[in-house]
């Protein structure tokens, strides 16, 4: 199978993460042919079977590039927070336009969430594609992973944690290291932001602090959150 790793506007941390598969990349090279990876290759070819795309389109050329990648790949994988919903830069407008994830422009077959994405999930996805099995994203919150790792709840230490609404799959790496979850993997399906906001208010966080926390990686929920806070 031919693989391509493509980069739109972003920090390229997901490309670096791709190289950080470390020694497993050598096993990967045996089974797959990396045909396109501008960060490490000079001669890059199309089409590919699987296109991994990091970043979001920040100008017309990048929108065109993204369409070209879609047209020339069988499977397109959104890699990381920026591809998924523009990540942290999604907080501002670009040339008058709101920064958006790649699914707003092209069909996406799979999502690897996170800032950066998790290597374990990438390996699982590749293995699923290779063996023709179904790949499913985790659909529970980060709290569930904290619970499994025995991490004390950060909300009780008055740290504003987004774990309650954030999609799991990172093994709660930030809370495990004493740092709040910023929801870099976005919300899981069917989240209830009202209950979450109510919980945060009851723990003594201000409306402004809650909005700030949602603005980092959960921009698509900010309007709904603000509306609820105003009407409650």
């Amino acid at each position: 199978m031919k693989i391509g790793v493509f980069s739109l506007t972003c920090c390229e941390g997901c490309s670096v993460q791709f190289l950080n598969i470390e020694s497993d990349i050598l096993k990967l090279v045996e089974k797959f042919d990396i045909k396109n990876f501008r960060l490490i290759k000079e001669r890059n070819e199309m089409p590919v079977d699987i296109a991994f795309v990091e970043g979001f389109p920040s100008n017309d050329e990048e929108v065109e590039k993204l369409s070209y990648i879609r047209e020339n790949s069988k499977i397109l994988v959104s890699m990381g927070a920026c591809a998924s919903n523009a990540g942290i830069p999604g907080m501002v407008n670009y040339a008058g336009k709101k920064a958006k994830g790649i699914k707003e422009y092209v069909d996406v077959d799979y999502f690897l969430y996170g800032c950066p994405f998790s290597i374990d999930e990438l390996m699982e996805l590749i293995s699923c594609i290779f063996h023709g099995k179904e790949f499913r994203n985790k659909n529970q919150n980060v709290c569930s992973e904290c619970y499994l790792r025995g991490v004390d709840c950060l909300l009780d230490k008055h740290i504003l944690c987004m774990g309650g609404v954030a999609r799991a799959g990172c093994n709660a790496v930030c809370p495990y290291n004493g740092h709040e979850c910023s929801a870099c993997r976005g919300g899981y399906e069917g989240i209830d932001i009202k209950s979450h906001a109510r919980l945060l208010l009851s723990k003594g966080f201000s409306e402004e602090e809650i909005i700030d926390a949602y603005e980092m990686y959960m921009h698509e929920y900010v309007e709904e959150l603000k509306k609820w806070l105003k009407e409650r």
Partner: protein
Amino acid sequence: MAEREINIEDITKIEGHANLLIKIENDELKEVRLGVHEGKRFFEKFMVGRSYKKIPEMAGRICGICTVAHEIAAARAVENALSVKVPECVEMARNMMLISSHIQSHLLHLCFLALPDYVGKDNSLEMDVETLKKIYKVKEAANRMTEIIGGRAVHPCDVVVGGFSREIGREDAERYGKLIKEAMPILEEIASVFLTLDYPDIRRQNNFASLYGDEFSLYRGMIKTSKYVFEEGEYEKYIEERSIDYSNANRVFVRGEDFMVGALARLNFNEIDGRAKEMMNEHGIKFPSNNSCHMNIAQALEMVYFAEKAMEIADEFNGCSERGEVKNENGEGVAIIEAPRGLLLHHYVIEKGKVRYANIITPTAMNLESMERDLRWHVEKILNRDDEEIKKEAEKLIRAYDPCISCSVHVARVV
């Protein structure tokens, strides 16, 4: 001979997206333009209005390779702004992280981006498996080391204003030290490859800038250029940014002159010792050097030098659970540290706990002008060669600078 135009639309094997245009008319070099077409990301804009507590985490997202440097520079600038006294053990742990991330970044640049040019390969994954295994063994070690201190290799998650969000234990430093010790022989072997390569001879730049002090530090120091020595807080008197029409990244000057930052600048101004010094002598290498392509040699030596320093720090480290306390939430602060690619500047004004002003100047932004002038200087001398050869030489030179284009544009301010 009439007009020739050499155009590289998307330079490969560099971090980020840049293009190069060379125009030659009647055997005369008319134009060299190094453009950056990657989209701007306005970090300095959306940091404004945010709580200072979130700044290190956000700053890390400027770059996926030098993420540690951005996090630490941001934390230190905020600490300077809010007069936070940072415990010594925090600085030791931050130094350990900086060193492992430098080694990781240098390995990525030397082995994956630069080396193919010198061994006639398209990319490093085409090299023999045994060599690749060695490269990966040390790269993996460097990543694990960053992870031991930072919780994660790409975008470490425990760097906060004042210190770390968790306790870093003595046993963490022991694991860290063990990894670097095991990696050392391979690291030396890899480094020695870059001491013997045949580099293009590009001796135009005489103006360098790096941290400088009693000790060779990546974390803190005076800023030394070929003409001036100043403190980080005084940068506005010396460093100036200008925007240009064909690039999304600004150009940076010291009192009107272009300059070069990075490993070469660091070794030009700082003494190294230990095994790295021995290797330098064994290969008859001397600093200062003003050949820009010697950046590769300097990075190779730095990996060995800092690996030894990292072992010393890890040995002395007795754990750290303290954190500097934030007592006031107003102030202005600057921090300049050494990122893998050179001086990295973060500057914040904080009012009532919120960022009111942010300015970030990255090493690649500092290097772009020098890179373009070096290109002009070098291409002028090889005009009689064919397009393909000129292109190859130009790419070698650009890659020697190890540009991180993502960094350079991601902080462009909205005009």
